[in-house]
């Protein structure tokens, strides 16, 4: 066989400076974001929304996400918010769980048996989140902040953000506290500042390319606490909702442009 002669010198690699590394990683992220498979999951999410389930064998189509029963347009962009029927502030996922219980008659244990899925089989919450969030594209993020319980949840979320805890003494701010920092190659947004929170929050839920998985904000809170070496936060608990509410209020005003792509 004839070998091909290549001009090796043309392709000589050289050690990149730290600044180049950062720039190249940004270019990588941008190119990955341009081809997000996230929208592939909108269709199965819609099917799930309309599928009768549970002891009452009804769909979630009458679920009130805050804009009225069954109204999806803009609903995600206005969450978390206070719900009078539940007398608490809810994010999308805790609200969906509430509807699974009240409308479909499902038990909490059954509905939350598998809240985080896999690449092969995303969870109900993941598929529903992608579909419902997609119905808020272009709508400005404006979570509830007028009710006393909404203000209290925000304050709780803010305090949690700076609360140092766990086997490694971390708070959220240990990683997301100073500008211009990275973990490995991952740039760390300073999420208590609006200019950083806005683009990040506006792209959740998302498709995660490293694991080919759909991920939601409840998953994000869960996996951050896992890496903070704490016990596990309960799905949809006040703690997780408060943090999501604090971050979303910090991001308010940004037009929702997800579901996005993450590393």
């Amino acid at each position: 066989m004839r070998l091909i002669a290549f001009a090796a010198a043309l392709f000589a690699s050289c050690a990149a400076s730290a600044q180049d590394v950062g720039k190249e990683i940004q270019r990588y992220r941008q190119m990955v974001a341009e081809g997000s498979p996230a929208e592939l999951f909108e269709l199965p999410g819609e099917e799930l929304w309309k599928k009768p389930q549970g002891p009452k064998n009804v769909s979630l189509e009458r679920c009130d996400l805050g804009e009225g029963p069954g109204v999806l347009k803009g609903a995600y962009a206005h969450l978390p918010r206070y719900f009078k029927d539940a007398d608490r502030v809810m994010d999308l996922e805790s609200r969906l769980l509430y509807c699974m219980s009240t409308l479909q008659g499902r038990s909490r244990d059954e509905a939350t048996a598998r809240v985080f899925g896999s690449a092969e089989r995303p969870s109900e919450f993941e598929l529903l989140s992608i579909y419902i969030a997609g119905e808020s594209r272009g709508v400005r993020i404006e979570p509830g902040m007028s009710q006393p319980k909404e203000k209290a949840t925000y304050e709780l979320g803010r305090a949690l953000y700076f609360h140092r805890v766990g086997a490694w003494d971390f708070s959220c701010a240990s990683c997301h506290g100073d500008e211009g920092k990275r973990i490995r190659m991952q740039e760390l947004p300073v999420l208590y500042k609006p200019q950083y929170a806005r683009p990040v929050i506006a792209s959740w839920p998302a498709y995660r390319v490293s694991t080919s998985q759909v991920i939601t904000l409840q998953w994000r809170m869960n996996d951050c606490y896992r890496q903070m070496r704490t016990p596990e936060p309960t799905f949809g608990s006040e703690t997780t909702v408060a943090l999501i509410h604090f971050l979303t209020v910090t991001a308010r005003g940004e037009p929702y442009h997800g579901p996005g792509n993450k590393r």
């Binding site: 304050e155 086997a167 003494d169 704490t230 016990p231």
Partner: protein, 196 residues
């Protein structure tokens, strides 16, 4: 830790009136559940965590000094040389596992060093939360005092800077004494890529 409690009593009303770290702790005890090796004691703050939360990581100098002295007492130095094997140290610096609810108890943990620090020039993927440690040894030598400092800093970073973001890798039971010695070698051995 009586000193800590006293200082807290003085500090508490001034900062974070609503909600307090005590409130947060109660809420976390309600909202979290144990899983694997991650048990519920981990949501109970110790004095260091409490003071750093209360003061937004800026404790008054006297209190900081007192707490650092307390933390210094936790450091257990092994007999003999503190220099292990830099090759094993490099693998420990790369690893990010250990102490989470899905890590198997007893499996060797990593130090997560590259998550926050630059070390070997061959590893481009390093974090920047902590300072660069490139040429750490070439700049300081590897005298027994320097070895003792590095060992102690990895064992309990809070003994040197009480509200440091660096975990107490020895005191928390993440790394063994032998692993910490390997990290000392990674930083100080003239043959280590860190000192290229």
């Amino acid at each position: 830790m009586r000193r800590t409690a006293l200082a807290l009593a003085l500090l508490a009303p001034a900062v974070w009136a609503d909600p307090t770290p005590q409130d947060i702790q109660r809420i976390m005890q309600r909202d979290f559940h144990p899983r694997g090796q991650a048990t519920m004691e981990r949501v109970v703050q110790d004095g260091v965590q409490r003071v750093c939360t209360e003061t937004h990581d800026r404790p008054p100098p006297d209190l900081a000094k007192a707490l650092e002295a307390d933390q210094m007492k936790t450091i257990v130095y092994p007999e003999g040389s503190l220099m292990g094997d830099w090759r094993r140290g490099e693998a420990i610096a790369q690893g990010g596992r250990g102490l989470t609810w899905n890590d198997k108890p007893g499996d060797p943990a990593g130090g997560s060093c590259y998550n926050c620090h630059e070390l070997s020039p061959r590893e481009l993927s390093h974090g920047t939360i902590g300072p660069s440690l490139r040429r750490f040894g070439s700049a300081r030598g590897s005298s027994s005092e320097v070895q003792r400092y590095v060992y102690g800093k990895v064992y309990n970073a809070k003994a040197y800077n009480v509200c440091s973001q660096m975990p107490r890798l020895g005191a928390s039971g993440t790394l063994t004494s032998a692993q910490i010695k390997d990290l000392v070698a990674l930083l100080l051995d003239p043959a280590s890529p860190v000192n290229e």
